[in-house]
Each structure stands twice: as structure tokens, then as C-alpha cells.
């Protein structure tokens, strides 16, 4: 893997963002709108809720972490879509760029955009609504790492789907976080879910993060075991996503999909 080729992939996204307000805004604007909306809701609920429970940590913190996860996933898929929209696959894959370098470039791009979005969210949530990530202690870092790894895995899976099914399937990718959210227990404990939903939740790394977050805020023991399961699941999904993307790419090279990837739909 050559560093300059990874840098080329990130530089391309930087050039695109630098030249386009429409690309620059989403990583910041929507997450900040979310923080404002949930910040005021949290403030209101704080006036009617029983004292002693950290609503800011439970709700606003959860929104912040969930938005971070969504930005990670969309950071990968949006960077990939830029190549779909500009019909750039032939130029890239007929070059010395390798598949790990290409995917690595998508991951680094996502790291940069989601990281910048996270900093903006933390600033607004802290300064505007009194949120402190220190309330999670050192576990804030593993929370982020588990969500980052799963976001990358899901983003890579989503790109494989679009590579396989064609540009129009892009619309299957955008709702994925919304489909996962009810099972992830972002705002409520998994115990309120029916058994079949809890069974699905157990397969989702974010569910372990948000359960751990609530345990922490209720001053329970550090939920290391749950986080370890979440981390292991995330790494498993990451490995699976890499294999799925590589297999999809091999299929695309075998069938000629890469060479003619501009059709609206492909078989």
C-alpha cells in the first residue's frame, strides 16, 4: 500500500469539498441542527424529569454518538458516490491504484470528515448545552472506536451494494442508519423492545455502546464486557465488509461491470 496513493484519494475529496459549499455543509450542518434540536429538547425534559438522572448525557450524548456513527458510514459511501457520479471507476481501476488503497482512501476521508463533524458537535453541545464527554470517562474513546469501526464496515458494505447493483441503488444506502436506529437502542434501553427485536439488537455493535452509556450514567459498574462484545462484533463486520467488497469488485472485473459502470441498472 503506497501512502501517496492513499493521499491522492483523500486529496481528491479535499479538492471537491474546497470547491463546493454543498459538499462542505452536510458533515457539519445536519449534525449541528441535530445538536440544537436535541439540546433544547433535553433542556425542556430536564425541567419535568426526576432529578438525579443526567438527561444531557443520556439524550444529547446519545444523539452526538449516533450522528458520529452516521457520518462515519456516510463519509465512506459519499466518497464512493463521488466516483459513481463522475464515472471515474475506469480511470481509477485502470491505474496502479490497488483495491486496499482505494478503500483505505475512503476510510481516511471518512475519518477526516466525521472527526471534524465530531469536534463541531462537541463544541456546540458543550458550550451551548453543558454536555461534557468527560462524564463518560475514559470509556468515551472505546464508544467512539466501536461506532467508527461499525460505521466503516457498514459504509464499505453499502458501497459494495451500489457497485453490484448499479448507481440507482444509491437510494437503498441512505436509509440504512434509520433502519438500524430502532434496534440500536439509541434513546431507550433494549429491555423495552420485544424479544425478536432484542435478538436483532444483540447483533449490532451500537446497541452495546448505548446500553453501556446508560449503565455508566446510572453509576453502574464499567460495562467492559458489553463493550468488548461490541468491539469484537465491529471488527468481525469490518473483516466481513472487506471480503464482501473484494468479492464484489472481483465479480465486477469478471463481468465487465467496472469497464461499463455508467448504466442506470446492471444485472
Amino acid at each position: 500500500m503506497k501512502a501517496r496513493r492513499l493521499f491522492a484519494m483523500v486529496l481528491r475529496q479535499f479538492y471537491l469539498m474546497r470547491g463546493s459549499l454543498a459538499r462542505l455543509l452536510p458533515p457539519f450542518a445536519w449534525v449541528l441542527v441535530d445538536i440544537v434540536l436535541w439540546g433544547f429538547l433535553t433542556r425542556y425534559l430536564g425541567t419535568i424529569a426526576a432529578p438525579g438522572f443526567s438527561l444531557v448525557g443520556a439524550l444529547l450524548g446519545a444523539v452526538l454518538l449516533w450522528d458520529f456513527f452516521m457520518r462515519v458510514m456516510q463519509g465512506v459511501s459519499t466518497a464512493f458516490f463521488e466516483d459513481v457520479w463522475s464515472r471515474n471507476f475506469l480511470n481509477l481501476f485502470a491505474s496502479p491504484l490497488t483495491l486496499p488503497e482505494y478503500v483505505g482512501g475512503l476510510v481516511l476521508t471518512s475519518l477526516a470528515t466525521s472527526g471534524a463533524g465530531l469536534v463541531a458537535m462537541l463544541l456546540l453541545a458543550s458550550l451551548g448545552f453543558g454536555f461534557s464527554f468527560l462524564s463518560y470517562g475514559a470509556l468515551f474513546v472505546p464508544f467512539l472506536l466501536v461506532l467508527f469501526a461499525f460505521g466503516i464496515a457498514l459504509g464499505v458494505m453499502a458501497t459494495a451494494l451500489v457497485l453490484r447493483l448499479g448507481p440507482a441503488s444509491e437510494w437503498l444506502v441512505w436509509p440504512i442508519p434509520a433502519l438500524i436506529a430502532p434496534f440500536a437502542g439509541v434513546f431507550y434501553p433494549l429491555s423495552v423492545l420485544p424479544p425478536w427485536m432484542r435478538a436483532v439488537s444483540r447483533l449490532l455493535p451500537p446497541a452495546y455502546v448505548f446500553e453501556a452509556l446508560r449503565v455508566l450514567l446510572e453509576h453502574g459498574p464499567a460495562p467492559r464486557h458489553a463493550l468488548a462484545i461490541g468491539a469484537a462484533l465491529s471488527l468481525g463486520y469490518l473483516a466481513l465488509a472487506a471480503r464482501v467488497f473484494a468479492a464484489t469488485y472481483r465479480h465486477a472485473v469478471r463481468t465487465g461491470l467496472i469497464a461499463r459502470y455508467s448504466a442506470e441498472t446492471v444485472s
Binding site: G19, E82, N91, I258
Partner: protein, 234 residues
């Protein structure tokens, strides 16, 4: 058949139908080889396999390493949402152009793109986009250059300049060029050897200046029409 490109027994099937059927040829350093044939003959499929974006069903491709190959094709424009300079910088990094800044400046000057430095590639005319594609194709001083109808969108003066640049590039003797075109006058002027393809096979190979007479045809265009319409008559 040592060269910057050696293709042997190349075959590609789609759904059991052969798009390319047992194609073998070589390109040597200093050579410009024309790959000719009607639409659907298998030229682009062959080039896609050489570029590594299409897996052959059978056969082998060897020669210059991937880092030393490059290509330009009318159907693969560079991203229209990046400027000319940004495109060349990004692809320069991918292809390992060094020193990057100087190489980008040199190529923008050579392909008359300096005044479009900050223009988005999507806003260029088709001729200017062709020149940008060719500049990209030169970023790594390739040992093998694949050009799929490189002058298709150029006016006669610009096409002549491009032909001169490619001929000069090949004349250095370090690189070979595989060139597809439907302009038979251009092929005669540029190519030292041509391969006529039809129905996925190479039917004829030879010097474009002597090949027509050898098959009782007036010129290369007449030979092309015969290959396209009545390949069995050859």
C-alpha cells in the same frame, strides 16, 4: 514476441458468446500499433482486458508493469468536478509522477492547458477534455500507452498536433503505443503496423501502407469496409 505488451490467446466470453476470440499480438518499444475494426469487433474489450478492468476468460497478457502503463479514451473522461490542475495532481500521485508539480506544469504546457488550469474539467470542450486525458496518460512516462480513439473529438489542427506528440513520444524508443481509430488516414500516418479485428478475431496484420494493395484494395478505408462487411472474402 518480447515487447512492452504481449497478448497471447486472449479470449473473453459474455454469456457463452465470444467477444474476443484467441487474439495474439505484441507491441514493441518505439512502435505505434493500430487496432482497427468495426464497432463491436472487440477492440475496447481487448483494451479493457489489457488495462486490467476486465478479466479474460482465457489467454495471457504480459509486458510493462501496471505502474508503467497508461491510457486515454473518449469514454473515460477525467472527473468533471475537479479542475484541470487538480485532476493532474490527483492522478499524478496515483501514477507516481515525480517531481509532481513540475510534471503537471510541463504537461499542461505541452497540451496547451495552462489557460484552463483552474477550469473544472466538465466545463472544457470535448477537444480540451481529450487533451486533458492525454496529459493524464503521460503523467508516468508510460512504457505502454493505450489510446482508444484519442483524436475523435479534436479539430483537424488539434488532431495533427496530438498525432505529432504521440509520434514524437514513440520515436524516443522507450515506449510502445496501441492506438484505435476509425480515421484511416490518421492510422496510415501514425501507425507502423495495424491489426484488423472483426468478430473478436484479428483477421489481418501488417503495414498500413502496403496492406491494402496486398489484398487488392485501393486504400486502407476500402480494406476496412471489406473487413467490416465481408471478412470471409479476404
Amino acid at each position: 514476441m518480447d515487447g512492452v505488451l504481449t497478448v497471447s490467446g486472449l479470449r473473453k466470453e459474455f454469456g457463452g458468446m465470444a467477444a474476443v476470440d484467441g487474439v495474439s499480438f505484441a507491441v514493441r518499444p518505439g512502435e505505434i500499433v493500430g487496432l482497427l475494426g468495426p464497432n463491436g469487433a472487440g477492440k475496447t474489450t481487448t483494451i479493457s482486458m489489457i488495462l486490467g478492468v476486465l478479466e479474460p476468460t482465457a489467454g495471457t497478457i504480459s509486458g510493462a508493469p501496471r505502474e508503467r502503463c497508461n491510457f486515454a479514451a473518449a469514454y473515460a473522461p477525467l472527473p468533471g468536478n475537479l479542475t484541470v490542475e487538480e485532476n493532474l495532481r490527483v492522478f499524478g500521485l496515483i501514477y507516481g509522477a515525480s517531481p509532481l508539480g513540475a510534471k503537471v506544469e510541463e504537461l499542461m504546457a505541452r497540451f496547451d492547458l495552462l489557460r484552463f488550469r483552474d477550469t473544472k474539467a466538465g466545463l472544457l470542450s470535448s477537444g480540451e477534455q481529450s487533451r486533458l486525458g492525454l496529459a493524464k496518460a503521460m503523467l508516468n512516462d508510460p512504457a505502454l500507452l493505450l489510446l482508444d480513439e484519442p483524436t475523435a473529438s479534436l479539430d483537424p489542427a488539434a488532431a495533427r498536433e496530438v498525432r505529432a506528440l504521440i509520434k514524437e513520444f514513440a520515436a524516443r524508443g522507450t515506449a510502445g503505443v496501441l492506438w484505435t481509430s476509425h480515421n484511416m488516414h490518421e492510422v496510415e500516418e501514425v501507425c507502423g503496423r495495424v491489426l484488423f479485428m472483426a468478430h473478436g478475431k484479428v483477421l489481418l496484420e501488417g503495414d498500413p501502407r502496403t496492406l491494402p494493395a496486398a489484398h487488392g484494395k485501393r486504400d486502407l478505408e476500402e480494406l476496412f469496409v471489406t473487413v467490416a462487411r465481408e471478412p470471409l472474402s479476404l
